[in-house]
C-alpha cells in the first residue's frame, strides 16, 4: 500500500512536468494556425482605419498613425452604398422569414405524417442541395426575365428560397422528430387541429432549432453573390457582396473604403456568430455528423 502511494506521487510529479510540456507544445502548434486564420481579419479591421496611402506603406504598419474614420464616413454619406446594405438586410430578412413559414409546416408533415411519395419527395429535397448554382444560373436568367422579375427584389427572394428551403426542411424535420408525439396528440384530444399543435406547442419548444435554421438562412442570403450579380442590373438593386465587387472595379482602388465596407459587410454575421456560437456550430455540424 505504502509503496504504491509513493509510486503514485512520483508518477504525478513526472506527469506534472510532461503536462506542462504538452501544454506548451499544443499552444505552440495552435499559434501558427491562429495567425493563418486570424491575421487576414485583423488586417482588414486595421486597414479600414487607415488613410488610403498608409495601406501599402513600407514597412506595413499595424496601427494607423492617426486613426481615421474617413473610410466609414464616406460610405455612410454615400446613399448608393447605404442602399446596398438596405437591400442585403431586406432580402436576407424576407427570405429567412418566408423560408421558416414554408419549411415549418413542411418539416412537420415529414415528421408526423405518412403519405404517398414521402420517400420520393424526401429524396428529391435532399438531392436538390447538390445542384450547382451555376447550373441553375442560365435557366433562372431566362425564367426570371420571362416572369418579369428581372432586377426586382421578388426575383432574388424567390431564387434564394430555393437554396434555403431544402436545408431548412431537413434540419427542422430532424428537430421535430426528437419531440414526443404525445405533445401534438394531447392538442388533438382537446379538439385542436394539427396546425394548432404545430404553431402553439411544437414551434415554441423548437426555438433553438428554428434559430439555427434562421441564422443559417440569413447567412446564405447575406453571402450570396452569383444570382445577385446575374439577376439584377441597376446599382439600386445590388446587394453588399456585389457592391464590394463593384468597388473593386471602380475608379482608382480605394482600399480603405473597400475594407470599411467589408467590415460593415461582415458585421451582421459576426455579431450573430458571437451571440449564437452554439447554434452556429450545431447547424454547421448537424449535416455531416450523426449521433
Amino acid at each position: 500500500m505504502v509503496d504504491y502511494s509513493v509510486g503514485k506521487t512520483k508518477m504525478n510529479k513526472l506527469s506534472e512536468r510532461t503536462k506542462m510540456w504538452r501544454k506548451i507544445l499544443v499552444i505552440a502548434g495552435l499559434i501558427p494556425g491562429a495567425l493563418f486564420a486570424g491575421f487576414p481579419i485583423v488586417w482588414m479591421f486595421s486597414n479600414s482605419f487607415k488613410s488610403n496611402s498608409e495601406i501599402f506603406a513600407y514597412p506595413p504598419k499595424f496601427l494607423a498613425k492617426h486613426l481615421s474614420f474617413n473610410a466609414y464616413t464616406s460610405i455612410f454619406s454615400d446613399p448608393e452604398k447605404i442602399r446596398f446594405f438596405i437591400n442585403s438586410y431586406g432580402i436576407a430578412l424576407a427570405v429567412t422569414v418566408l423560408t421558416l413559414l414554408v419549411s415549418i409546416p413542411a418539416a412537420f408533415t415529414f415528421s408526423r405524417y405518412n403519405f404517398k411519395f414521402k420517400k420520393v419527395l424526401n429524396g428529391v429535397i435532399i438531392s436538390l442541395q447538390s445542384i450547382p448554382p451555376i447550373t441553375l444560373m442560365i435557366p433562372y436568367f431566362a425564367l426570371i426575365v420571362k416572369l418579369r422579375m428581372y432586377n426586382t427584389y421578388q426575383g432574388l427572394i424567390l431564387t434564394y428560397m430555393v437554396f434555403t428551403l431544402p436545408y431548412a426542411i431537413i434540419m427542422l424535420t430532424g428537430y421535430f422528430n426528437t419531440l414526443p408525439r404525445e405533445l401534438d396528440e394531447a392538442v388533438k384530444i382537446d379538439g385542436g387541429s394539427a396546425m394548432t399543435a404545430l404553431w402553439r406547442i411544437l414551434v415554441p419548444i423548437s426555438i433553438p432549432g428554428i434559430v439555427t435554421v434562421g441564422i443559417y438562412n440569413f447567412m446564405i442570403c447575406w453571402n450570396e453573390f452569383l444570382f445577385a450579380l446575374t439577376l439584377t442590373k441597376t446599382n439600386e438593386m445590388r446587394t453588399v457582396p456585389v457592391g464590394i465587387q463593384l468597388l473593386m472595379g471602380q475608379h482608382a482602388y480605394k482600399w480603405n473604403e473597400m475594407m470599411s465596407m467589408s467590415v460593415l459587410g461582415c458585421l451582421p454575421v459576426l455579431v450573430l456568430f458571437l451571440f449564437f456560437q452554439r447554434y452556429f456550430i450545431g447547424g454547421l455540424t448537424s449535416g455531416s455528423v450523426k449521433n
Binding site: 506595413p60 450547382p132 447550373t135 442560365i138 473593386m248 473597400m258 461582415c266 455540424t285
Partner: protein, 304 residues
C-alpha cells in the same frame, strides 16, 4: 385513455384528412421546388441540345453538337484540368488542416478557456462572405502587400511576387485562398466527431501502453473515417462548383491559368452570350455533381 366516442370521431377524421393534409402543408414547398428547381434543371438540359438559345427566338435542335463543341474547346479542357487541381489541392489541405486543428483543439493539455478562444479564432474564416474573402486576399497578396513584405524580410524572395497576376502562381494563390475560407467546416465536423469517440477506447489503448501516434492511427483515424469520407465528397462537390471567389480574385486569368468550369460557364453566358454552350458546360458540371452526390448518399447510408 380517451372515450370510445371520441376515438371513433378521430378515426373518421383521420381517414380523409390525414390523406389530404400532408399535401396541403407541403403545397408551398412543392410549388416552389417545382417551379424553381425541377423546371430550371429540365430547361438547362433542353438548352444544351439547341442552337443559340435565349438570344434566338426559335432555336434549332442540334443534338449533341454543343457537347462536341464544348468538349473539344481547348479552353474548356484547361478549365477541367484546373478545376481538378483546384479541387484536389483544396480538399486535401482542408482535410489535413481540419484534422490537425481539431486534434490540437481537442487536446486535454489545454484549459477550457484557452480552447474556446482558439476555437473561435479558428472558425472565423468560415463566416466571411466570398466577396470579402476575395478583396481581403487581393490586398494581402498584392505585389507591394504585406505577405511579400514578410517574405522579403525573411529572405525567402528578393522582389515582390505578383501572386494573383502571374500565370505561374495564380492557381496556387486561389487554392490557398480557398483553403483559408473552407477548412473551418471540416474542422468543426471533425471536432464533433472526435468528441463523439468513446473514452473507453482511449482508456484501453492507454492500458495497453500505446503511444499517441499508435492511438491516433488505430483509434482516432478509423473512428473518424466515415466523417472524413463524407466530408471529402461534399467538399469535392462544393469546390468543383466554385465560381465567385475565383471570379473576384483572378477572373479566370491571367490568360487561362485559373480558368475553371464555373468561370467558363459564366463567360460563355454573360461574356459571349453563347447560352447554349454555357448550358452544355453547366450540364456537364451537374452530371459530375450528381455522380459525387450518389457516392455521398452511399457513404451516408453505410454510416447508418
Amino acid at each position: 385513455m380517451t372515450s370510445p366516442a371520441l376515438q371513433q370521431k378521430l378515426k373518421r377524421q383521420t381517414k380523409l384528412k390525414r390523406r389530404i393534409e400532408p399535401f396541403v402543408y407541403l403545397s408551398p414547398t412543392i410549388t416552389l421546388l417545382l417551379v424553381l428547381m425541377v423546371i430550371p434543371v429540365a430547361l438547362v438540359i433542353r438548352y444544351s441540345f439547341f442552337d443559340n438559345v435565349i438570344m434566338n427566338e426559335f432555336p434549332k435542335f442540334v443534338g449533341l453538337h454543343n457537347y462536341l463543341v464544348v468538349l473539344q474547346d481547348p479552353t474548356f479542357q484547361i478549365a477541367v484540368k484546373n478545376t481538378i487541381w483546384f479541387t484536389l489541392g483544396s480538399v486535401i489541405a482542408h482535410l489535413v488542416l481540419g484534422l490537425c486543428f481539431s486534434l490540437l483543439l481537442n487536446s486535454p493539455a489545454i484549459g477550457m478557456i484557452t480552447k474556446s478562444i482558439f476555437r473561435m479564432i479558428y472558425i472565423l474564416p468560415w463566416i466571411f462572405t466570398v466577396a470579402i474573402v476575395a478583396i481581403l486576399w487581393r490586398m494581402i497578396l498584392d505585389p507591394v502587400g504585406v505577405l511579400n513584405y514578410w517574405l522579403i524580410k525573411l529572405g525567402l524572395i528578393h522582389t515582390g511576387v505578383q501572386w494573383l497576376s502571374s500565370p505561374k502562381t495564380a492557381l496556387l494563390a486561389v487554392i490557398v485562398i480557398n483553403i483559408w475560407a473552407g477548412y473551418p467546416f471540416y474542422m468543426m465536423s471533425l471536432l464533433a466527431g472526435i468528441q463523439g469517440i468513446s473514452k473507453d477506447l482511449y482508456e484501453a489503448a492507454r492500458v495497453d501502453g500505446a503511444n499517441w501516434v499508435q492511438t491516433f492511427l488505430n483509434i482516432t483515424l478509423p473512428q473518424l473515417k466515415p466523417i472524413i469520407l463524407s466530408m471529402s465528397v461534399l467538399d469535392i462537390i462544393w469546390t468543383s462548383q466554385q465560381f465567385a471567389m475565383v471570379w473576384m480574385t483572378t477572373g479566370g486569368g491571367p490568360i487561362t491559368s485559373t480558368q475553371m468550369i464555373g468561370i467558363y460557364t459564366y463567360q460563355q453566358a454573360f461574356g459571349r452570350y453563347e447560352f447554349a454552350l454555357a448550358s452544355t458546360s453547366a450540364v456537364l458540371l451537374l452530371v459530375a455533381s450528381i455522380i459525387f452526390s450518389v457516392v455521398y448518399g452511399r457513404l451516408q447510408r453505410r454510416q447508418d
